[in-house]
């Protein structure tokens, strides 16, 4: 019966000559509800978050031009790159952990590829109708009707893709500003470029490539098998219960006819977004979206059979053995994950809230003053990573040098870098014979003396 799919399908007009276009059928059910809720939540976060304000600025802004990441009250600087790496490692390990426990949960419910494909499919359904209508429409010759439907779909797709690109760039450039620029047609070339680029990627991946991304492009889909074992939750067809499959009249005694519970309606195949037959066993194409569970459950209900011919199960469960959730692999992943998360929080809490960089003035190494003293000028880069503004006093540790003015103070707003020029002089009386001296500059927050940072600098003088 898989032939129905093939005959109903047509070769995709893509590069992939051998690729059969998949027309997933819409199905309602427990897992569809879950999947759609997850999609709403994730899309809501994606499209909503950039508009969220926090302390007068965008709550989440990866301000690349200013080289600062704002995450609510937290500001990350390039020096904090380790935290970003750390987060990525945590994310990867969580993926391993959840995969070992529950299979491709990520693919079915949370992967952007799945979520956006879901939206694009929904738009397709709204404009072109359900599966049968879509297949008919594609097979039909071009007409005004077809043009209208296809045009409406493209219009929806393109606008949505552009909005997605805009939102994406809005995570990196303040989105309100971006909106103003877009409305007045004053977008910079690179902003426009990235909006289109990301829009195109969305359109291509969710409208065009779809399941091929999972099949041919996704590295995760390939190495997942290394993380699966007999206790991993996967989507399965209960072979023992279902076979031999075959059609039967409702209410007839299938067992006496030598039949299993599968009525061979192929509904599970028709709903599959990757176009596979779950009855053939676990395949790497399966993204564990559970659409086939919903489909088969609806059939089982109609036949008055118990649900679960296609269900979430472990290999042990299918073989009528007990499933062990706690196993060495899970413990190792779990402990590692916990340690990494705890370490992350602790390290973030202990991160120095102020930092100091000292640059020597580029224009002149030194300047002799009238009274014979030597002056050097420095640029202090004071980084206030704290969530509140501070006033910093500059101090000099070395007795041979003096600041001018004696104790300059600078106000630095929260999460900002302040460039403060300071002058340091060395008295002429105290002649030293080295041309290059060392001194240590320190900044101290006047309202919280424990907030300190220091940096060393070189002091240049003429050789005498």
């Amino acid at each position: 019966m898989t032939d129905t799919i093939k005959s109903g399908a047509q070769a995709d007009e893509s590069y992939y000559a051998a690729h059969q276009k998949v027309y997933p059928r819409d199905i309602a059910g427990r897992f569809a509800t879950l999947r759609i809720s997850a999609a709403w939540l994730l899309l809501g976060l994606f499209y909503g978050l950039p508009w969220l304000r926090w302390n007068g600025r965008q709550a989440i802004l990866f301000d690349l031009p200013a080289r600062k990441f704002h995450l609510f009250g937290l500001t990350l600087w390039p020096q904090d790159f380790i935290f970003l790496t750390w987060l990525l490692v945590i994310a990867a390990l969580s993926l391993f952990f959840f995969t070992a426990v529950a299979g491709r949960l990520w693919c079915g419910y949370a992967c952007p590829q799945t979520v956006w494909t879901e939206v694009f499919l929904w738009m397709e359904r709204v404009t072109e109708g359900d599966r049968t209508r879509r297949m008919k429409l594609d097979a039909a010759p071009w007409s005004l009707h077809k043009l209208g439907r296809k045009g409406a779909k493209q219009l929806l797709w393109v606008s949505f893709a552009l909005w997605t690109g805009f939102t994406f760039v809005g995570f990196f450039t303040p989105i309100t500003l971006l909106g103003e620029l877009a409305l007045t047609g004053a977008l910079g070339p690179w902003e426009s470029f990235w909006i289109f680029f990301y829009g195109l990627a969305t359109y291509g991946n969710a409208g065009f490539l779809r399941e091929q991304v999972c099949k041919y492009m996704c590295p995760y889909a390939r190495f997942q098998s290394a993380m699966f074992d007999r206790n991993t939750l996967i989507i399965t067809y209960d072979l023992e219960r279902g076979e031999p499959r075959g059609g039967r009249r409702k209410g007839s005694d299938a067992r006496s006819a030598g039949l299993g519970d599968c009525v061979d309606c192929t509904l599970c195949v028709q709903v599959c977004p990757t176009g596979i037959d779950i009855r053939a066993g676990l395949q790497y194409e399966c993204i564990a979206c559970a659409a086939c569970i919903d489909a088969c459950d609806s059939v089982m209900d109609r036949m008055h059979y118990p649900r679960g011919l296609v269900r979430y199960a472990t290999q042990n469960n299918l073989d009528r053995q007990s499933t062990r959730i706690i196993r060495p692999r899970i413990i190792v992943y779990g402990v590692l994950l916990l340690a990494l998360c705890a370490g992350f929080v602790i390290a973030l809490g202990r991160r120095a809230p102020v930092a100091l960089d000292v640059l020597h003035d580029r224009n002149a190494l030194y300047r002799p003053l009238d009274d014979g003293a030597i002056e050097n000028v420095y640029l202090l880069k004071i980084m206030n990573k704290d969530a509140i503004p501070h006033r910093f006093r500059v101090e000099l540790g070395d007795a041979g040098y003096r600041l001018d003015p004696i104790a300059p103070q600078f106000d630095v707003p929260a999460g900002e870098v302040f460039n403060a020029p300071v002058r340091v002089r060395r008295a002429a009386l105290e002649q030293r014979h080295d041309a290059v001296g060392r001194l240590r500059l320190r900044i101290v927050a006047t309202d919280a003396p424990s907030l300190q940072a220091q940096a060393d600098a070189r002091f240049f003088a003429p050789r005498d």
Binding site: S14, Y15, Y16, A17, A18, L64, P65, R67, P78, F81, L84, T173, G188, P189, W190, E191, F193, W194, Y216, M217
Partner: protein, 92 residues
């Protein structure tokens, strides 16, 4: 090798090219992130080529990304090409 054979059985080089572009895109994204986390391109450019209006960081990041992508794509396509070239030993 089976991957490549698989591609060829589909009778198309399109997929190879897309894969090359895609893997190198991933590599370039990573490289761009790491590189620009440690290197601020602005002062570097100002020092190398002082101009009245230095390019914005966004422009510099973007150009950097495409350079990385180009290099990675070069490497990936070379790999794909070498793998797809007929091997004398593998023929039965």
């Amino acid at each position: 090798m089976s991957q490549v054979a698989n591609h060829e059985s589909l009778g198309t080089h399109g997929r190879i090219w897309l894969t090359v572009l895609w893997t190198s895109f991933l590599a370039a994204s990573g490289a761009t992130m790491v590189f620009f986390a440690f290197v601020d391109p602005r002062p570097a450019i100002e020092m190398l080529a002082p101009a009245a209006a230095p390019p914005s960081r966004t422009a510099l990041y973007s150009v950097g990304f495409f350079l990385f992508w180009m290099i990675a794509a070069l490497s990936a396509s070379l790999t794909a090409w070498l793998l797809s070239a007929p091997s004398r030993r593998s023929s039965p």
